[in-house]
């Protein structure tokens, strides 16, 4: 390999066929006289602009594209040299860091010698050691292209904002399950907003047996084993549901607050009493109608109960998870859009309350297709306010444009699976922790179950990993007609 060109932080390297390099590989450009070395990553492999190749190809097609047959008497055996030159490749590489004095520095401003530099492949395992991508709580994500294991530190997800994205069927949920299991192994509290009921089998092996996490996975199904009694609710939690999920106007919200206080003073905070109170409350008919419509939505959701024995499951599960480590799966599969908003509003309110009161230390929140249930103002909350409370969110989506740009800009880690759509790649490439060329070039050609890891988890060295297999029961598959 020979160094050909450097423009900004892009280096072009001439490579020959036997060197066999691919996108994602790391190279070390050592300049002994400068006492420094550049770490670069191949983001594209092109044919070298070898003069005469077009003539070479054209002359083998004389007549209607038919290949001319013949024999070459080549006594000096020049043909392999021709092939060698024809197949020369130009590696387009991004500078990732400089090694100087045994340490890594982010500088890319120096220029290694074109004639004296020695270029060699940098094994990812060596790179990971150099970058100190390890830690006390390793999570094995899978294998790199070189079949070496890729471990990230659980701490690199702690206090961080993460995004798992890629097109349908590439392995996003698989990776999020792997992260969830790994986090609960280290005693973390995980809450999953499970849109398709995919995570319910986390505690069960593929052949239906209990696995090591069985007791740590708590699946809550709204209206079944997850209900809330009005008497357990704080007025602020309920007002959040009414205003944000059920869009109750301000005047009606004020009347509702009065009704609630009246019922509370009388000690009869039940659904039935609430309905009666709205009916008998002296107020404008429009306000009364607005309150009734919300009341019936709440009643019909089945999420609210007057039976205290069937309520409180969330708090219990969270406290248990906080104590021993565990995942609380909120199965939103069979809930309507309106109910989903109510439930998520309640869950986030409850989490905030418990974290504020230090009843929970911190929570890793996994939110699948969050745009389907998260209200607008939460996006900003998540990147600013909530992480200070101790809610560290991981968004999982196959529609990258459903996540706000501000989330990408502040994401600490991105686990990127295959995307071929230009628009999707454009959206993801807005992430601050990586350049858009890397995203567009590598993600486009990722095979299924291969993920480009970007961000703090890999110390900002983008690495492609084949996600390891998990022995958990698959749930939430697409229902098929023809099988």
């Amino acid at each position: 390999m020979r160094l050909y060109k450097k423009e900004g932080n892009v280096v072009q390297i001439l490579s020959f066929p036997d060197e066999n390099l691919e996108k994602g590989d790391y190279l070390l450009i050592e300049d002994e006289s400068a006492g420094r070395a550049l770490i670069v990553q191949v983001i594209d492999v092109q044919f070298a602009n070898v003069p005469g190749v077009l003539e070479e190809l054209l002359r083998s097609l004389p007549d209607g594209g038919e290949i001319i047959e013949g024999e070459d008497i080549d006594p000096l055996d020049i043909a392999p040299h021709i092939t060698y030159i024809q197949d020369a490749k130009l590696l387009i590489c991004k500078i990732r860091a400089t090694i100087q004095g045994g340490g890594l520095i982010p500088s890319s401003s120096w220029l290694p010698s074109r004639s004296q530099s020695v270029i060699r492949r940098l094994p990812i395992s060596t790179l990971l050691k150099l970058a100190r991508v390890n830690g006390k709580r390793p999570i094995l994500l899978g294998e790199t292209k070189e079949n070496s294991p890729l471990m990230i530190d659980a701490s690199s997800l702690d206090g961080k904002l993460n995004i798992i994205t890629g097109k349908k069927g590439t392995g996003k949920s698989h990776l999020s399950k792997l992260l969830i299991i790994s986090l609960i192994q280290y005693g973390a509290t995980v809450v999953v907003l499970d849109l398709n009921g995919e995570y319910a089998g986390l505690g069960i092996t593929s052949d239906g047996k209990k696995n090591a996490y069985y007791d740590k996975v708590h699946v809550l199904v709204p209206s079944e084993n997850f209900k809330v009694a009005l008497s357990q609710l704080h007025i602020n939690e309920l007002m959040s549901i009414l205003i944000h999920a059920l869009h109750l106007p301000g005047t009606s919200a004020r009347e509702f607050r009065r009704i609630w206080q009246s019922l509370k003073q009388r000690g009869c905070l039940t659904l039935n009493e609430l309905g009666e109170a709205i009916r008998n409350w002296h107020c404008n008919q429009n306000v009364k109608d607005a309150l009734f419509s919300r009341y019936y939505t709440m009643v019909n959701s089945g999420f609210f109960t007057d039976n205290l024995s069937e309520a409180m499951m969330l708090e219990e599960a969270l406290i248990k998870a906080n104590r021993e480590g565990g995942a609380v799966i909120i199965n939103l599969k069979n809930t309507s859009a309106m109910d989903r908003h109510m439930i998520v509003e309640y869950v986030l309110g409850k989490l905030t309350e418990m974290l504020t009161n230090w009843r929970l230390k911190a929570v890793f929140l996994f939110a699948e297709e969050a745009h389907l249930y998260l209200r607008e103002t939460y996006w900003d909350d998540i990147v600013t306010r909530m992480r200070h409370f101790g809610i560290f969110t991981t968004f999982i989506t196959n529609q990258p444009d459903s996540i706000r740009e501000s989330i990408y800009r502040q994401a600490d880690n991105i686990f990127l699976f295959n995307f071929t759509n230009e628009h999707d790649l454009e959206v993801v490439s807005r992430a601050a922790r990586v350049d858009s060329e890397t995203v567009k070039s590598i993600a486009r050609e990722l095979p299924p179950h291969h993920c480009l890891v970007l961000g703090k988890a890999v110390e900002d060295f983008p690495i492609v990993v084949r996600i390891k297999a998990l022995d958990v029961k698959t749930m939430g598959e697409t229902r098929l007609f023809f099988s």
Partner: protein, 304 residues
């Protein structure tokens, strides 16, 4: 190689041609040479030859080379005369061509050898040469070309030599541009041409316009072939080969296959460096140094 001669007359009557589709093998020969670079002791050059033939509507080729030579002032005579002895066994005496002429001269020797080989192996075909049937040059002794043509005739072949460029003029105009507009394909014979000795014409010269368009070529046909057979040979060429811009495809392919591409030059330089540790010197081009964008450079003036 094209020679500058003056034409006294051009036959006013063209020979109109028809396509003769009687299956006939069309074969063509061409060679090329290239200067791969300069070393501290001399030049590294390469030559290559190609034979292309069309039979049963299919093109086939045999390509020989590249043959790479490191020529120095000390070995140039030995290399050239060794090739001369191999390719022209009856040749007497030794030659000492100049450095710059050597690649072309060596390619010419290879070309004559290939022409002789094909004249001795093909039966009843049309053999296309690149250039003319002018003999008496250092690489084309009269006797050798005469023997090639004789071998071809003995096997029922007809040799047609197409020159891409000519300096023959009639009334001040290049012969290929001085034609009256007849409907192609046709031949216009040139008569009463004489060359200064030792140059000898072993063929009769025609201007051949084989297809529509502006392209006409000088065509030399073996003098010993009767007139009817000459016309028949050109008509068989028209009926059996593709004629693109008035030029036979078989000959075009031979030319393409022997010519070196830039990629091949790089590969040969790579070979020379790897296998023989010869370092090619990148000597500064004084034309470019002195005249900048107005200097064409020595390479541009080279004949490849």
């Amino acid at each position: 190689m094209e020679l500058s001669i003056q034409a006294e007359n051009l036959s006013p009557e063209p020979i109109h041609l028809k396509l003769n589709r009687q299956p006939t093998i069309i074969a063509a020969v061409d060679t090329s040479s290239i200067n791969l670079g300069e070393t501290s002791r001399g030049l590294v050059i390469a030559i290559r030859g190609a034979c292309v033939w069309k039979s049963n509507k299919k093109y086939n080729y045999l390509r020989l080379g590249p043959f790479i030579f490191h020529i120095t002032e000390e070995n140039k005579g030995e290399i050239y005369n060794s090739l001369l002895r191999i390719y022209i066994p009856n040749h007497r005496g030794a030659a000492n061509p100049s450095f710059n002429q050597l690649p072309l001269r060596m390619a010419n020797l290879l070309e004559r050898w290939l022409q002789a080989s094909i004249a001795k192996t093909l039966n009843g075909g049309i053999i296309l040469f690149d250039g003319s049937l002018t003999a008496g040059t250092p690489d084309t002794p009269i006797q050798q070309l005469r023997e090639i043509l004789k071998s071809a005739r003995e096997r029922g072949n007809v040799v047609l030599a197409f020159a891409k460029m000519t300096s023959l003029r009639i009334n001040g105009l290049i012969i290929t541009e001085a034609l009256v507009n007849y409907k192609p394909p046709y031949l216009v014979p040139m008569i009463d041409l004489k060359l200064k000795p030792p140059l000898t014409l072993l063929g009769d010269i025609y201007v051949a316009k084989l297809s529509t368009g502006n392209c006409a070529f000088r065509l030399d046909i073996d003098k010993e072939i009767p007139h009817d057979q000459r016309v028949d040979a050109v008509e068989k060429l028209l009926g059996n080969d593709l004629i693109n811009c008035g030029y036979p495809e078989t000959l075009r392919l031979a030319h393409i296959l022997c010519t070196f591409t830039a990629n091949e030059v790089l590969a040969m330089q790579h070979y020379v460096r790897r296998k023989h540790r010869l370092k090619i010197i990148d000597r500064p081009d004084m034309h470019k140094l002195l005249f900048g964008p107005f200097g064409k450079g020595e390479d541009d003036n080279e004949t490849l």
